[in-house]
């Protein structure tokens, strides 16, 4: 008789448990090229779907003639608005986006018709043969004009005190512009829809939130939710781009119509048109401070361009408003944020979600104040820094550690890199272009601080579900973990297994595929999955452990399902913006050092150092990867990434013209990670993926200002902004 397996006494310092860095479970398949991404999916008798998109930002549709497309050999179906089976609109927060445009289009690339054909080339050819009769209208592309006309998705004010009653010694007023950034995940939007014998449909798709997809897809197909079964397909990055639907309803419609499996896959140009972007912003800020640099008031008017459809603009506006002054104490605030409705591309989720735009502005303002007062950028931030016990401008108490002053102080122990006596071309602006040997090159240093909310806000119940089953396999206890959480590359699956090892003391953990047969895990966004699905897996493991104390595992498997909820939050007051709207706050501080070739307007970031408080480190390697990657996207916004718009048209929908940082653009990144636990969070963790994306951008631009003396109120900073040519 073997010794019965006993439940562990927590906490376990398990091999491969919480706090360690096990190799990710999908690493082997990924390094062998065997991992199946959504774009790799295939099925027997598979058709290829393709989308007919409007070339016009704003047009009336007078008619759609599908006859020529249908006549092409190999074309199996051509569908229009009339073929949408049930609900004609969908959306993440508001169902305002047509599945296929009916009477008109409101942004360039809006889907108008669908084609399914035997191969991709035929599908593309057929899509070109669909004749849409447009009456082209002038697009409304100015978000400030839209605000004047009251055409907004949301207006959120924040009011505390009365800025006009203060007596500032110094006032700085500036206008800032943030261009339209794209998530640019490398994996294209893709998926496979397979009709099922019962009249339903099976979808495999790369998405950030399976259940939200289901809630939007089923009503449009006119199917009960249990007739639409969705399984996560391999995801090639997300960063917000996969929150809104892309191929899902379209490929399901084609599959149901043809009775055959249908694959859809965007190419890069279509991808740029086929997902939402980060909201471009125009922001007027006024900061007043006393002679010591202590903030007396902040006024801000922030216009975010929401584009043609609502997507998540409502929530982005709330973030921009509640985080509008950053991690600084100030008693008098008048902030207004608008999410404008225009005929530009819809904007929605991207890493940082409403926190990025304002962070560039408020950090630039802090530097401007420091400049006026002749104090250092670090000192002005330290004098105003929030800490535990401070209040956000929403009135919400920061009730967990927020050691910003300490974080700022950490840089003294990490000196700025010295300028090498002999510099390789690769180390200079222009790189291997060999555009300088150092002449015309000036150096600057800058700081940026970002404050980001973790989890969903304003009363949203973004609970997460986990099912954990413990059973003996070949005499060994094995934990089976099932959630619907999207592994978008961040390493969440690794963490689920770590938690199971720690809580159950097992070595072996099997992760079941994420699908809709288990409850919702919420979205892989808002830096929330460690907190929420991590919390759910922990809770389910604890329940299993409890049951295990009462009986022998040899008598059969033990299973528990748990839903995990974060603390309740409240909506922001529509007039004052007051309310405990957030779950958790996270801080990151960056210092950047740059070399700028002032003759050619070229920038080389030579150092990007981050200090971030993560509460508790759950997986050191994955965490570092999040901070590195988030910092890189912040660098991209600072000096290169922008979708250039011209009267509603995207001018650079390719990787040739939309530049994301290469390995040559990234400097070595030093990290200093602090662990001041949040007692309210599982393991004391603090969400970590987004904060570095906020603070990297203003740090780099501050460094360029320091080098050049230029005001630089717009990102990305382009060469022409540095050399003064229009």
């Amino acid at each position: 008789m073997p010794e019965p397996h006993k439940p562990p006494t927590p906490p376990q310092r398990a091999a491969g448990g919480v706090g360690t860095s096990p190799v990710r479970p999908d690493a082997t398949a990924k390094v062998n090229g065997a991992f199946e991404y959504a774009s790799d999916l295939r099925a027997d008798r598979m058709l290829w779907g393709h989308t007919v998109r409007s070339p016009h930002p704003r047009a009336r549709i007078l008619g759609v003639d599908t006859a020529a497309a249908e006549a092409i050999p190999g074309v199996a179906a051509v569908l229009t608005h009339a073929d949408v089976p049930a609900a004609k609109h969908y959306g993440l927060i508001e169902s305002d986006q047509p599945v296929l445009a009916a009477d008109g289009t409101h942004y360039q690339g809006e889907p108008v018709a669908l084609v399914a054909a035997e191969d991709l080339e035929t599908a593309r050819l057929a899509a070109e043969s669909v004749k849409v009769d447009y009456e082209v209208l002038e697009p409304r592309c100015d978000p400030r004009r839209a605000v004047e006309l009251g055409e907004v998705f949301r207006h959120q004010p924040v009011r505390i005190g009365d800025p006009d009653l203060t007596e500032p010694a110094v006032v700085v007023t500036r206008e800032y512009v943030v261009g339209m950034q794209d998530q640019a995940p490398l994996g294209p939007e893709s998926g496979l829809a397979v009709p099922s014998p019962d009249g339903g449909v099976e979808l495999r798709v790369a998405t950030q939130w399976l259940h939200s997809d289901l809630d939007q897809i089923a009503p449009c197909l006119g199917l009960e939710p249990d007739m639409v079964r969705i399984t996560m397909a391999g995801i090639g990055g997300a960063f917000g781009a996969r929150e809104d639907l892309s191929v899902q309803i379209h490929m399901a419609m084609l599959a149901l119509k043809t009775g055959r499996p249908v694959k859809m896959m965007y190419d890069r140009a279509e991808s740029f048109l086929g997902h939402v972007h980060r909201h471009p912003a125009r922001m007027r800020y006024e900061h007043g401070a006393d002679a010591e640099g202590r903030l007396l008031y902040v006024k801000a008017e922030i216009v975010l361009d929401g584009g043609a459809y609502a997507s998540t603009t409502d929530a982005v506006v709330a973030n921009a408003a509640s985080l509008a002054v950053g991690p600084y104490e100030v008693e008098h605030v008048a902030v207004d944020v608008w999410g404008a409705i225009t005929d530009n591309p819809p904007c929605g989720a991207m890493r940082g979600f409403g926190g990025v735009q304002t962070c560039f502005a408020y950090e630039s303002q802090m530097d401007a104040l420091a400049d006026e007062l002749g104090i250092s950028p670090v000192e002005i931030r330290r004098r105003n820094a929030v800490s535990q016990g401070s209040k956000l401008i929403t009135g919400q108490l920061i009730d967990a550690p927020a050691p910003l002053a300490d974080m700022l102080g950490r840089f003294t122990a990490m000196p700025v890199p010295a300028i090498a006596a002999e510099r390789d071309a690769a180390d200079l602006p222009g790189g291997f272009g060999n555009t300088t040997r150092g002449e015309g090159v000036v150096r600057g240093v800058g700081y940026g601080v970002g404050l980001k909310n973790i989890c969903y806000s304003e009363g949203f119940d973004d609970y997460s579900t986990a099912r954990v089953r413990l059973e003996l396999v070949d005499g060994e206890p094995v934990a089976f973990v099932h959630t619907a959480a999207a592994e978008v590359g961040q390493g969440h699956q690794t963490l689920q297994a770590q938690i199971a090892r720690t809580e159950l003391g097992v070595e072996r953990v099997e992760l079941l595929p994420a699908d809709t047969s288990v409850g919702s895990a919420g979205s892989s966004s808002a830096s929330r999955q460690s907190y929420m699905t991590g919390g759910a897996v922990k809770a389910a493991c604890e329940a299993v452990r409890e049951l295990w104390t009462e009986r022998d595992l040899a008598d059969g498997p033990i299973e528990a399902v748990r839903e995990f909820r974060h603390r309740e939050t409240k909506p922001m007051d529509p007039v004052t913006g007051q309310g405990d709207s957030h779950v958790q706050m996270a801080l990151c501080v960056h210092r950047a050092t740059v070399d700028v070739d002032v003759e050619l307007g070229l920038v080389k970031v030579v150092e990007l150092t981050a200090v971030q408080d993560v509460g508790t480190i759950l997986n050191p390697v994955a965490l570092e990867g999040q901070i590195h990657g988030g910092s890189a996207q912040g660098l991209g916004l600072a000096v290169m990434e922008e979708l250039v718009m011209d009267e509603g048209r995207v001018r650079n929908a390719s990787f040739t013209d939309y530049l994301i940082p290469t390995i040559l653009d990234m400097p070595p990144m030093r990290l200093d990670i602090l662990e001041n636990a949040d007692p309210a969070a599982p393991y004391g963790l603090r969400g970590a993926g987004e904060p570095p994306t906020l603070s990297a951008t203003p740090a780099i631009v501050a460094a360029i200002r320091d080098a050049t003396g230029l005001p630089l109120t717009r990102v990305p900073v382009r060469p022409e902004h540095l050399v003064g040519t229009p």
Binding site: S21, P22, N32, S39, R508, T662, P668, M669
Partner: protein, 191 residues
Amino acid sequence: MRLELTLLVDGEAVTAVLDRPGESLLRTLRERLGRTGAKNACEQGECGSCTVLLDGEAVVSCLVATAQCEGREVRTVAGAVPGEVREAFAACGAVQCGFCTPGLLVSVADLLGRNPDPADAEIREALAGNLCRCTGYEKIIEAVHRAATARTAENTHTGAPGTRPLPPSPSPEKDPTLPHGCDSVMTEGRT
């Protein structure tokens, strides 16, 4: 038109039948031959996700016409990359979403074939054509150094010269034994 040609893909002679003369090698590999190791992030030659070795030379397969490949040797991630390089990427956290990984691994194999112990600057130059959106590249540089060290150690052990021909292609189905990572802890790779 119909074009039939034979390629040597990852050590195996395969026949591709094309009905479009301009079809890219990437499309042929993925859609006709079912070899999806080469990835399709841009199909414009910008991202490097589809990098393969064509007669030993690193190319972006989206910009190569299959019609030009009759009788030529193509090595994808499945056939071009030494085990040490794969192991290092897995162990160092150089893989997140992994979509860039196959192309990067081929570029790293190409680099280490030419330069067994590259400096940071040489790594950056060699990998400048491979976009990664997840990692910020820091762990990738770490992984290349780790792979270089592991290969050098093995060469010393076997008495092979500093540069050596690429090893025979391991089967993609076969798990490489992942060693203890840069900072990583191995847990039998079973989860």
